[in-house]
């Protein structure tokens, strides 16, 4: 993959990373959007769509409530799409490649929580500067301080993207050389594990009345219809 492609994905990472908290919150940051968008710009939207769909369902129940910082699914989506496309076909089916890039990208995405926290701590320093400016009577400069937070969130997004793509590229190379013979078969089952775990986690986290009845009935009816 060319340097331009990595740069294009970095721009998507920055835009989606800012949408996550700092600007807009139109939800282009969600994996179901961010990953196919990355794939589309890099020439293969369907790989991105598969990665985005699996990630979206895995974390559909994770909520950004209060001061809690959820996993950085945005950067995992963008980074894993880059990893899958950079690996080419590598002798694997598309589904196997999607699963492998997610297995590599997901643990590295934990770095996102650290950088996100760091950005919010940097933002707290803006308050100190705002107090200082008010004490000095320079109140006109206070609103502009707010925009510095964009840099902090932007840097955090790009740092996470860098770790997923940088670390992931190294690890993908090693993983592709050491894959078990029947990885395609393993990946086919893991393909089902993603949605199953995501759905279970959502049902486990959300305390919804009659959820067992509703889920079982809709599952059985849909199974009969399909």
């Amino acid at each position: 993959m060319s340097a331009g492609a990595y740069l294009t994905a970095a721009v998507v990472s920055l835009w989606c990373g800012l949408d996550r908290t700092a600007v807009g919150q139109f939800m282009v940051c969600r994996p179901i959007v961010a990953a196919p968008l990355t794939g589309w710009l890099l020439g293969d939207p369907l790989v991105g769509l598969k990665i985005g769909a699996l990630l979206e369902l895995l974390w559909v129940g994770r909520l950004p409530i209060g001061a809690a910082i959820p996993p950085d699914d945005t950067q995992v989506a963008v980074g894993s799409t880059v990893l899958a496309l950079a690996a080419g076909n590598a002798g694997l089916t598309t589904d196997s490649l999607v699963v492998l890039s997610l297995l590599v990208g997901l643990p590295l995405g934990k770095a996102g929580e650290y950088f996100d926290r760091l950005a919010r701590l940097w933002n707290a320093q803006l308050l100190t500067r705002a107090e200082f400016l008010l004490d000095a009577g320079q109140y006109q400069k206070v609103p502009r301080l707010h925009l510095w937070g964009l840099w902090h969130f932007g840097i955090a997004s790009l740092a996470t993207y860098g770790i997923i793509v940088g670390g992931g590229t190294l690890f993908m190379g090693w993983a592709l050389d050491h894959l078990p013979d029947r990885f395609d078969a393993i990946a086919a089952w893991l393909w089902l594990a993603f949605p199953l775990i995501g759905i279970s986690a959502t049902l486990g986290i959300f305390r919804i009345s009659r959820s067992l009845l509703l889920f079982s009935c809709s599952f059985v009816i849909a199974l009969l219809v399909f």
């Binding site: 908290t21 700092a22 600007v23 807009g24 919150q25 139109f26 939800m27 969600r30 179901i32 959007v33 196919p36 589309w40 769909a53 979206e56 895995l58 950004p64 409530i65 209060g66 001061a67 997901l106 707290a124 803006l126 308050l127 008010l134 009577g137 109140y139 206070v142 609103p143 707010h146 510095w148 937070g149 964009l150 969130f153 078990p180 393993i186 086919a188 089952w189 893991l190 089902l192 949605p195 199953l196 775990i197 995501g198 279970s200 986690a201 959502t202 049902l203 486990g204 959300f206 919804i208 009345s209 959820s211 889920f215 079982s216 809709s218 599952f219 849909a222 199974l223 009969l224 399909f226």
Partner: protein
């Protein structure tokens, strides 16, 4: 003092989209709220009073970013009344403190906990069929109510002042959340059946073999409730599959 006009409204509205740019653990959205209000405050107050007004707003504030719009409109109405010397019906700080937390809870429950997962699940029904309309549908379903609340909420907030709370109550967000969550469970059931049934058909297995998925889902849900991370469960499954395929 200058009145609130269309240009003001648009400027404040655009700035609400950056409410959380300086989100921090100490005062959360305080600087963002001030940033959003500045175009209006500069019209309401003379220069020599702005320092005190800015200082007044540099205190802890946190609410849901979308429900912040009606609150912001109401705060601006109160600020205008204060600037005009009208008798105070409710203190600005008192109003912010009283409504921010309940609105945060309602907004989190409705937008993050109900609407977004339902929009996701609906989009996923298309996405798992390989249709790029899935993400588009997700964005549409989520952003229509989102943008409506941002735009209309700011307008209503400014028109009705602190009484906008009654408008928010009339939206019945908790009831809507519960209905949407029930719809989410149904959509997840359909999605699970479709994904698993499709894979089993590919293996030549009868659909009835997918039925054990229901207790398996309950077991996994129980483990997540016991604070076992979904990521840990995923990698445990990966290890189990590696071991199985190694020995078979």
């Amino acid at each position: 003092m200058s009145r609130w006009n269309r240009k003001n409204f648009i400027l404040v509205l655009l700035r609400t989209f950056m409410l959380q740019a300086s989100w921090n653990f100490e005062q959360m959205q305080s600087l963002g709220l001030l940033f959003a209000m500045v175009p209006a405050l500069r019209r309401f107050y003379p220069e020599d009073q702005l320092l005190a007004v800015y200082r007044r707003h540099l205190v802890y504030f946190n609410t849901h970013p979308y429900l912040a719009s009606p609150l912001l409109g109401a705060v601006l109405k109160l600020e205008r009344q204060a600037a005009e010397g009208a008798p105070e019906e409710i203190g600005i700080h008192e109003f912010k403190s009283a409504v921010a937390a309940p609105c945060a809870a309602m907004g989190d429950g409705f937008f993050w906990g109900a609407l977004r997962p339902v929009a996701s699940a609906t989009g996923l029904l298309l996405a798992f069929r390989g249709s790029l309309w899935g993400p588009v549908l997700f964005l549409f379903l989520f952003n229509v109510p989102h943008l409506w609340l941002r735009i209309v909420g700011l307008r209503r907030g400014y028109d009705r002042g602190f009484r906008v709370v009654e408008n928010i109550q009339r939206c019945r967000f908790p009831d809507l959340s519960m209905r949407l969550k029930q719809l989410l469970v149904v959509l997840l059931g359909i999605l699970a059946a479709w994904l698993i049934g499709d894979r089993f058909q590919g293996l030549g297995w009868a659909s009835m073999w997918a039925l054990p998925v229901i207790p398996l889902t309950l077991l996994l849900g129980f483990l997540v409730q016991k604070r076992i991370s979904p990521l840990v469960l995923l990698f445990l499954m990966f290890l189990a599959l590696l071991t199985w395929f190694h020995w078979n």
